[in-house]
């Protein structure tokens, strides 16, 4: 009874399959900016009706903006350092993934998969609480402040993602390039550094920038472990202003706006590069 003839279409209850939902990380161009602006504006008008004794939300933001922007600069610093560290380590890990020496490739595969599939926040906690606040090396004490540990915490998933980007890009180069290099007596290492990687840079750039935009946005996670970056400072400013509820939206809206104005151009540029490199 299971073999229905092709002509006969019996009404069968098929298992329900969820339509694949695609979650778009990118917010439509202006809507987010408008949203933040509206939040700030709405809160300002709410205040306008309440009385002149307190600073307006806009004035609060203006007053604290040097501090908040310094916090934001710290976010950017952490993200850039994490990216630098993660890229260098990821390049090494990616090359190890491509190694012909099986055990090395297997170990690096495990490392890559582990750090790619672990929640960033959990990795951050691990680094924060497992790494001591200082290390003593050659009788000199090297302090490890929270923000450095956080940077390392972010560099780990970056490393795994960059390794995957490197591996994918090198694999996407036609194997005939390897053959041509081999027939000219290039060693494997020479082929990688002189022929493969230079061709890969273009292909790697868009996904690499994508990783960066994600890191930049994720740096606010550091507030949970007490690094005084923008989100931490925003909470402190809110408290300093008496925790007025009408300040909540403008202050956090300001943080949102900062991140949006920083990350959106990166995403826009990434998309443009992707389009430019697709052909060829």
């Amino acid at each position: 009874m299971s073999n229905a003839e092709p002509g006969h279409r019996l009404a069968v209850l098929l298992p329900y399959r969820l339509a694949p939902t695609r979650i778009s990380v990118r917010i439509s161009p202006l809507s987010a900016a408008i949203l933040c602006f509206c939040a700030i504006l709405a809160a300002s008008t709410a205040w306008a009706e309440s009385g002149p004794t307190m600073l307006s939300p806009l004035q609060v933001i203006l007053k604290w903006s040097p501090l908040l922007l310094r916090g934001f600069a710290f976010n950017i610093l952490i993200s850039l350092l994490a990216m630098l560290l993660g890229t260098v380590a990821g390049l090494g890990l990616g090359l190890a993934l491509l190694s012909e020496f099986r055990p090395l490739a297997a170990i690096s595969w495990l490392i890559t998969q582990f750090f790619r599939n672990a929640p960033w926040l959990v990795l951050l906690f691990f680094v924060m609480f497992l790494v001591p606040f200082q290390v003593i090396m050659f009788k000199t004490t090297i302090p490890l402040p929270d923000w450095i540990k956080a940077t390392v915490g972010f560099a780990l998933p970056v490393m795994a993602n960059v390794a995957e980007v490197v591996r994918g890009a090198v694999r996407s180069i036609p194997s005939t390039q390897w053959e041509a290099a081999e027939s000219l007596s290039f060693t494997r290492r020479q082929t990688m550094w002189l022929i493969m990687l230079p061709q890969c840079i273009k292909r790697m750039l868009p996904p690499w920038m994508n990783v960066y935009a994600l890191v930049a946005m994720s740096t606010v996670l550091a507030s949970i472990v007490g690094v005084s970056e923008m989100l931490t400072l925003t909470a402190q400013v809110h408290a300093a202003e008496g925790g007025r509820p009408e300040l909540f939206a403008p202050l956090y809206g300001f943080a949102l706006l900062c991140f949006f104005l920083y990350c959106y151009p990166i995403n826009l540029w990434t998309a443009r590069l992707e389009r430019r490199f697709r052909v060829r």
């Binding site: 053959e179 041509a180 027939s183």
Partner: protein, 250 residues
């Protein structure tokens, strides 16, 4: 590696070469020998193992059994320095396989500089001369993407020659070219042959094989069906399979 090879012995000697991909045997006992300065053409229908054979000669692919010797050196020897072997053997591919991120001149210069560690200025002089020899003077700074198929293939030939190989392998080098550019590549190969370079060509260009080759091998389904000098093979083939193939392509 010390060998007892002398130039009057075959420069390439294949004995009973077998090669399988899984259960599929593509080379079923190929034997041939090439003397220094000879031009050999291997012809035959698609899938007869021609390309596999010359890739095995270059150790790009390992053989399953048999022996391939180049200048007396056993290619299948696991202790063999494959890179040293490949310095003796230049190879040109059907799809040119130039390095797309390098100019024509850089493509030619790369291997001598990085593999042979020769002096850059001297290599550049030689590379320019080689590009001129393949009639590409003026195209030194063009990237492969800016060159026609025929031009790219001639850069590829110059790139192989820059390593000063003793033997050149050509794997269907005109198969991917436009008809009008085939000729310029064939002229280049003919000049090489006239200069005394040992050449092994896998080709579908029968007229070219007839004019240039010293010896022609006809392969089908992994075996050499028939071989001989072109004048006899092309006009008086003995085997029925050879006759049928030649009647189809000539």
């Amino acid at each position: 590696m010390a060998t007892s090879w002398t130039p009057d012995q075959p420069i390439v000697q294949c004995v009973e070469v077998r090669k399988s991909f899984g259960a599929l045997e593509v080379l079923k006992g190929i034997s041939l020998s090439v003397r220094k300065g000879e031009v050999i053409c291997i012809i035959g229908p698609s899938g007869s193992g021609k390309s596999t054979l010359i890739r095995c000669i270059n150790a790009l692919q390992p053989i399953s059994s048999g022996s391939i010797q180049i200048e007396g050196i056993e290619v299948t020897d696991p202790r063999l320095d494959k890179l040293a072997l490949r310095r003796k053997v230049g190879m040109v591919f059907q799809q040119y396989n130039l390095f797309p991120h390098k100019t024509a001149l850089q493509n030619v210069m790369m291997a001598p500089i990085h593999v042979l560690r020769q002096d850059r200025a001297e290599v550049e002089m030689r590379a320019r001369a080689l590009l001129a020899k393949v009639r590409l003077a003026g195209k030194e700074d063009s990237y492969p993407g800016e060159l026609s198929g025929g031009q790219q293939q001639r850069v590829a030939i110059a790139r192989s020659l820059a390593m000063r190989p003793d033997i050149m392998l050509f794997d269907e080098v005109t198969a991917a070219l436009d008809p009008e550019t085939v000729k310029e590549v064939l002229v280049t190969i003919r000049e090489l042959a006239e200069d005394g370079m040992t050449c092994i060509l896998v080709t579908h260009e029968m007229n070219f094989a007839r004019e240039v080759a010293d010896h022609v091998y006809f392969t089908d389904r992994g075996v050499i069906v028939e071989h001989g000098p072109p004048e006899t093979l092309f006009t008086a083939a003995k085997d029925e399979r050879t006759q049928r193939f030649l009647s189809q392509v000539l």
